[in-house]
C-alpha cells in the first residue's frame, strides 16, 4: 500500500508539474492576460529590478520608471515609426511588397522585431530588456545598411507573383518574432547562469550590476515561450504557402532545394523547442539551446545558403 501511495503521489506531482506548462499562453489568449509571474526575490534570483508588476497602468509605470526609461521608450516608439515609414515608402517606390531581396528582407524583419518588442516593452514594462533587444536591432539594421544595402530596383521575374505578398510576408513576420525570441533566449541563459553562480555563492546577489538588472530566468523563459509560440504558426504558414507557390511556379510542392531544406530544419528545431518546453527534463537550459539552434539555422539559411549556395531561391541580390 505504501508503495502504491508513493507511486500515486509521484504521478500527481508529475501531473501538477506538467499542468503549469503553457499556462501563460492559455492566459495570454484572453483579454485579461496575466504578465509573467513576479520573480521570486529569494537568494540567487536576479529579480531585484525584474519586470514590474502589471497591476499599475502604463502611465503610472512609466512615470515611476524614471527619466532615462521615459526617454528610451519614447525614442524606441519614434524609431519604430521612422522604420515603418521607411519600409512603407520603399514599398510605394518599387510598387510591390518591400521584401524582394536580402536588404529589404532584413530591414523588414528588424522592423517586425522592433514593433514586436515595443509591444512587449509596453505590455510587460520590460525596460530592462530594452538595451539588449533594441541593441540587437541596431546591429542588424546597421549591418543591413552597410554590408548588404541594395538600391531600389525591379523584382527578379521569378518573384513577380502575388505569392510574394503571402509567403515572404509570413517568413518576414515570423523571422522578426524569432529574432526577439533569440535575444530573450540568450538572456535566459545568462540569467540562469547568474542565478546558479549566486546560489553557489560564487557571486554576491546584486554584485553584478548589469546582470542583476535583467529579469529572472523564470520570466525570460515564459516570455521566450510566448514569443516562439506566437511566431511558430506564422512560420508554419509561410512554409506551406511557399510549397503552394513552388507548385504553381515549378510544378512541385517540395524539391529539397537548399533553402526549402533549411526552412524545414528551422521548423523542426522550433517544434522541438516547443515539445522540449513541455517535457520534464528538457526544459530550461536545454530547451533554450534548441530554440537558439533554430534561430541559428534561420540565420544560416538567410546569410549563407541564400547568398553562397546556388538554388531555386537565389534572389538575395547580394554580391
Amino acid at each position: 500500500m505504501t508503495s502504491r501511495a508513493a507511486a500515486k503521489a509521484a504521478v500527481e506531482s508529475r501531473v501538477a508539474e506538467l499542468a503549469t506548462v503553457g499556462a501563460g499562453v492559455a492566459s495570454s489568449s484572453g483579454s485579461s492576460a496575466e504578465p509573467p509571474a513576479a520573480a521570486p526575490a529569494g537568494p540567487g534570483s536576479p529579480a531585484a529590478s525584474a519586470l514590474p508588476a502589471r497591476r499599475q497602468s502604463f502611465s503610472q509605470a512609466i512615470g515611476e520608471a524614471g527619466t532615462w526609461v521615459r526617454a528610451a521608450v519614447a525614442l524606441s516608439v519614434a524609431g519604430v515609426t521612422a522604420h515603418l515609414a521607411a519600409v512603407v515608402t520603399r514599398g510605394f517606390a518599387v510598387h510591390r511588397a518591400p521584401w524582394g531581396n536580402m536588404y529589404e528582407f532584413v530591414t523588414a524583419l528588424t522592423c517586425v522585431a522592433a514593433i514586436f518588442f515595443v509591444y512587449v516593452l509596453i505590455r510587460y514594462r520590460a525596460w530592462a530588456l530594452g538595451i539588449w533587444v533594441m541593441g540587437a536591432v541596431v546591429v542588424a539594421l546597421g549591418l543591413a545598411e552597410t554590408v548588404i544595402y541594395t538600391a531600389a530596383g525591379p523584382l527578379v521575374p521569378a518573384l513577380q507573383s502575388y505569392w510574394l505578398s503571402i509567403h515572404v510576408t509570413a517568413m518576414t513576420l515570423s523571422s522578426g518574432i524569432f529574432f526577439v525570441a533569440a535575444v530573450l533566449g540568450i538572456l535566459y541563459l545568462v540569467a540562469e547562469r547568474y542565478r546558479a553562480r549566486v546560489a553557489a555563492g560564487k557571486v554576491a546577489e546584486g554584485g553584478n550590476g548589469l546582470l542583476s538588472r535583467i529579469p529572472s530566468a523564470e520570466q525570460l523563459d515564459k516570455l521566450t515561450y510566448r514569443t516562439v509560440i506566437f511566431g511558430f504558426p506564422v512560420w508554419t504558414f509561410g512554409v506551406i504557402a511557399g510549397a503552394i507557390w513552388a507548385d504553381e511556379a515549378w510544378g512541385r510542392y517540395w524539391g529539397w532545394d537548399p533553402v526549402e531544406t533549411w526552412a524545414f530544419i528551422t521548423w523542426v528545431l522550433y517544434a522541438a523547442y516547443l515539445h522540449a518546453r513541455a517535457t520534464a527534463g528538457w526544459r530550461g537550459r536545454r530547451a533554450h539551446y534548441i530554440q537558439l539552434l533554430g534561430f541559428a539555422s534561420l540565420v544560416f539559411n538567410i546569410l549563407v545558403i541564400q547568398v553562397f549556395i546556388t538554388g531555386m531561391h537565389s534572389y538575395a541580390g547580394v554580391g
Partner: protein, 56 residues
C-alpha cells in the same frame, strides 16, 4: 544592319525601362527614413544604457 537586331532591346535598355517604374524620389525618402530610424534606435539604446548606469 539587320532590322530585327536593331529593334530588339539590349539588356541595359531593358534594365533602364524597368527602372523607369521605380520612384527614385520616394526610394531616397525611404533611405532617409531608414537612416533616421537607425539613429533614433541608437539614441534609444543609449537611453536604456543610461537607465542601467544611472537609473533607479
Amino acid at each position: 544592319m539587320t532590322p530585327g537586331l536593331s529593334e530588339s532591346p539590349t539588356t541595359s535598355q531593358k534594365r533602364e525601362r524597368e527602372l523607369v517604374g521605380i520612384n527614385q524620389g520616394l526610394a531616397a525618402v525611404s533611405g532617409d527614413f531608414m537612416i533616421a530610424a537607425l539613429l533614433i534606435y541608437s539614441l534609444g539604446v543609449l537611453a536604456f544604457a543610461g537607465d542601467l548606469a544611472c537609473g533607479r
